[in-house]
Symmetry: C2
Subunit: 372 residues, 2 copies
């Protein structure tokens, strides 16, 4: 089977579970994609990412185009071979990072000119170049280039930006062309303006994509606004295509978004938090830096299957975080990714068993009890 295909296996209210079939392997949805920004899910061996339960990882076009360079990765056999991950990879288009990381951005109809945050070199990213880079990387799921305006922004600003993003989406799809087994996803924009989200969804559906992302959220707005926007957007997207909420999020955000019909997620939170000494558990987050862990022989989470929990105590994690030992980010990232993947597995089973509402309620309750 050499095609890209989304198989919906069950629904529970607006929530869905299924499988995205790709030539490089299946992606069970709802799926969480660990972020491998520059060719590495930070502090993790690829096989450990897989053991944690990931079916797919994400790579960043912006980082990879600057270093080591897309043409170089292509010469070396593509991103999968380069970074030792042979399963599916989704790449973003670079749009978001250009806005958030680079210097001296100038956006025109043609594309965006910017300076690299690494060496200051001037770069020019167009929809066509963004797609060419993703093709050179060998990405399985390629994202259109879009403009990501900072929030809050006026309706006029969002509307103008959205119009540009839709023209770029059309050019991106044309540039993607025919790539059997690979997919091209459009990105719904429109800020928190429901009618703009609707217009964006309609225009993208008209172009026709293999999947649809919801972009421009989780950029500082309240969770309720994010949920409202998702709830208004997902019904407007084709039911037979995967839906991807970009850059989200906290465990509670993911649960809420799955309830509202989202299938795919990515976020740096589990990896970045792991490097900062923070651990996710079923009863909330723990900061291993805190002195209260110094003498604690208990594991981080007695029920967790990850090496941090199976082989080490909270006291050891505390010690290695404090001492700046590299094993601390290794173990905490491993744990956090395992937690996220186990959360996704729980969500998939709950949807399949028609008991997602109870799962979500128990999840939120568990967090509230521990937080109080």
């Amino acid at each position: 089977m050499y095609e890209f295909r989304f198989e919906l296996t069950a629904t529970d209210g607006a929530a869905r579970t299924g499988v995205i079939h790709t030539p490089r392997g299946d992606i069970r949805t709802p799926a969480f994609m660990p972020v491998g920004t520059a060719g590495s899910v930070k502090a993790m061996m690829p096989q450990s990412v897989r053991e944690a339960g990931a079916d797919i990882i994400l790579g960043n076009t912006y980082h990879l185009m600057l270093r080591p360079g897309a043409e170089r990765v292509a010469r070396l056999g593509g991103l999968h071979k380069f970074c030792g991950w042979e399963r599916p990879i989704l790449t973003d288009s670079g749009g978001f990072q250009v806005m958030s990381l680079s210097k001296l951005r100038k956006i025109t109809e043609e594309g965006v000119r910017f300076q690299s945050h690494i060496d200051g070199a001037t770069e020019f990213l167009t929809p066509e170049r963004a797609m060419e880079i993703q093709r050179l990387l060998g990405s399985d799921i390629q994202m259109v280039l879009d403009e990501c305006p900072a929030l809050p922004a006026s309706e006029a600003v969002i509307e103008k930006s959205l119009a540009l993003s839709m023209r770029w989406a059309k050019r991106s799809k044309a540039a993607f062309g025919e790539q059997p087994g690979h997919a091209c996803f459009g990105i719904v924009q429109g800020g928190t303006f429901t009618h703009l989200r609707a217009r964006s969804a309609a225009e993208l559906t008209e172009i026709g994509f293999d999947g649809y992302a919801v972009g421009g959220l989780a950029v500082g707005e309240p969770q309720s606004e994010m949920f409202d926007t998702i709830e208004a957007t997902t019904p407007l997207l084709p039911a037979d295509r995967p839906r991807y909420l970009m850059g989200v999020g906290k465990p509670g955000d993911i649960v809420g978004a799955v309830l509202r019909g989202v299938d795919m997620f990515d976020c740096v939170l589990p990896t970045r938090s792991g490097r900062n000494g923070q651990a996710f558990t079923w009863s909330g987050t723990l900061n291993l830096r805190n002195a209260c862990h110094a003498d604690d022989p208990a594991p981080l989470d007695p029920d967790c299957r990850c090496p941090a929990c199976r082989q080490f105590s909270r006291a050891y994690l505390h010690h290695t975080v404090k001492a700046g030992e590299i094993i601390a980010p290794m173990l905490l990232t491993w744990h956090n990714l395992t937690f996220y993947q186990d959360l996704m597995a729980g969500l998939r089973e709950a949807v399949a068993g028609q008991r997602l509402a109870a799962f979500a309620q128990a999840f939120n309750l568990s967090l509230q009890i521990k937080m109080s």
Copy 2:
């Protein structure tokens, strides 16, 4: 078998191979002990250290006494359990690090007063306390506290220091007491003065230890002086006890020391170099930072069995070193420790096969060809 016992299985000239039996497992000699300074062989999971081929690791009394503290480690079940390594551990006595890392040292007959390099707290280390700390950690091989004078130093300075170290050795042995299954090693001092080394060896043998270390070398003196000192010292040590050359060293140092009758080694070189982008190979060292690796699809070493060589290219290692990705020190440390352990395995087989001279010659020749 619950005793500590050294079994010599073959010799080749002055070189020896054998097995140190301990209740926590066998140590094949000549052995290289990866350094786990503060309860972690940096950037490595314990099982990866074992997979690389290590039978024993080293822990640093100085670091562990300051953080997390010996009494705390004891309460948590000992160092093995704490750091997830159930095989043998050798601990140094803290003497060397007090001299090299701490501030405001003051040495008296009683011991050494110093300030912690972590928080400036005043600490006092005596032979009795050094042994108590190692017992609290649960160390399998415990080292006497010695004074480590900086080289070069006059004969008078070395002689005075040596006399103190020998009095401390006697106190250390008495403090070690009876610990079935655990060993206490003496440390030969005397700088590069052969007659002082002889005096030290005689006095230690008179006290009687389970093994004998050669200390105070590899502190900046030429390799030839180090080899001369080893050559003059090892014949004066009991043949039925293991001999440990502390803090050594480069691969060529190890080969030369094995030729001169040394059984055990430790050094931060493979781990520290790995964090600095440097890799050891059978044809010399490589700096993965160098641009010449950027487009190289070849593995670091095509014959190496480590994950860095089996799963990744030099181009990837170069990229991740340059990008500051944590996977770079993880992979390069793994490779370097594998190289060191494979070198030790080669040395053991060469001694057993009575062909160590040829092995050493081929090893040195290989290095010279590549270096030129």
